[in-house]
């Protein structure tokens, strides 16, 4: 199965090079989607035929960047994708465990589930818990981490999972669509590496995601 990693990146100059280097042994190709960074990432990264850099001329958001990456993967005949963040908070060594359920045909989408511990701010933990619970109750889908960005997807399932959210609600919408279309899924525990201050979903993002969760149910 041809595999590809999609890395959405916005002004992530410091760690991306290292992330690419660590991810490459586990996939056939990497697509970095530069989501309108101040300085084009193409100029910051070493050229490598196994790494493609696509650039959004303006910042559209993580959801739009992931979609651009998937479109590229479809055009080039890849069969499974791994979504991984550019800031180095995911451990690339866990990519095989994310891809395994897809390769073994046990799942079409695999969600990485973080362990919530003290390094994540209390407000972020509480917000994640609230969003996850709301999603579980409203959509009857047992995914224990609604905001983790470390995931794997079988390309053939993309049509069912396809999201509209251009920004951070993409993580939640993927799960909602998984539930709506009864896409077989598996959860895999992942570790989270905290390099510096917490850079995940903000309180405002959380409120927006909650509004989306409710809106998707009604509309």
């Amino acid at each position: 199965m041809k595999t590809i990693a999609i890395i959405p990146a916005f002004n992530e100059f410091d760690r991306l090079q290292g992330v690419n280097r660590e991810v490459l042994p586990f996939v056939d190709h990497i697509v970095v989607v530069d989501d309108g960074s101040r300085e084009p990432l193409r100029e910051q990264l070493d050229s490598n035929p196994a790494i493609t850099i696509l650039r959004h001329t303006i910042n559209l958001g993580k959801g739009a960047a992931l979609k651009t990456g998937v479109m590229w993967a479809i055009d080039h005949g890849y069969e499974a994708v791994v979504f991984i963040d550019a800031d180095g908070q995911h451990d690339p060594k866990e990519i095989p465990s994310l891809l395994r359920p897809i390769l073994e045909q046990r799942a079409e989408i695999v969600f990485g589930v973080r362990e919530f511990h003290g390094r994540m701010p209390l407000i972020a933990r509480a917000g994640n818990h609230l969003l996850t619970k709301a999603m579980q109750v409203l959509y009857r889908i047992q995914v224990d981490d609604s905001q983790s960005g470390f995931r794997a997807l079988k390309i053939s399932a993309f049509e069912k999972i396809a999201w509209q959210s251009p920004r951070y609600a993409v993580e939640t919408e993927m799960i909602v669509n998984t539930g709506k279309h009864h896409v077989p899924f598996v959860q895999v525990p992942i570790t989270t590496i905290y390099h510096d201050r917490y850079k995940g979903t903000t309180v405002i993002d959380g409120i927006r995601i909650m509004i989306n969760i409710l809106a998707w149910k009604i509309l």
Binding site: R55, H56, I58, L60, A64, K67, T68, W72, P166
Partner: protein
């Protein structure tokens, strides 16, 4: 003329000037300019001669012309908000598709 009428007339003059400004900058077509002029002129007529609106006010169980204007204004605002929402969503979507197309074509 009471204070509300004076404020309303100043508002009408202000908006007339703005409509003209947009027309002069070619941001409005002649038809768009005419449409907004009719709206502002209508508002001025209702403000200056509220008498003929009495029939409508009684029919709709309002007590004053001003209440009718307020209710009408709120309805218009809801309409304009909805229209803006639709236009912004459509523009966002088209922008996203365009940016993606450029990104994929430059690969």
């Amino acid at each position: 003329m009471n204070i509300i009428q004076i404020i309303a007339l100043l508002f009408v003059l202000w908006m007339t000037y703005f409509s003209f400004l947009h027309y002069r900058r070619r941001e409005f077509s002649l038809w768009e300019f005419a449409f907004w002029q009719v709206i502002w002129l209508g508002l001025a007529v209702v403000v200056l001669f509220p008498g003929p609106t009495k029939f409508v006010i009684e029919k709709l169980h309002f007590t004053r012309a001003f209440d009718l204007l307020t209710a009408g204004g709120i309805l218009l605002l809801f309409g304009a908000t909805f229209r803006n929402y639709v236009v912004v969503r459509r523009t966002d979507k088209r922008l996203e598709e365009l940016v993606r197309k450029i990104a994929l074509s430059k690969d």
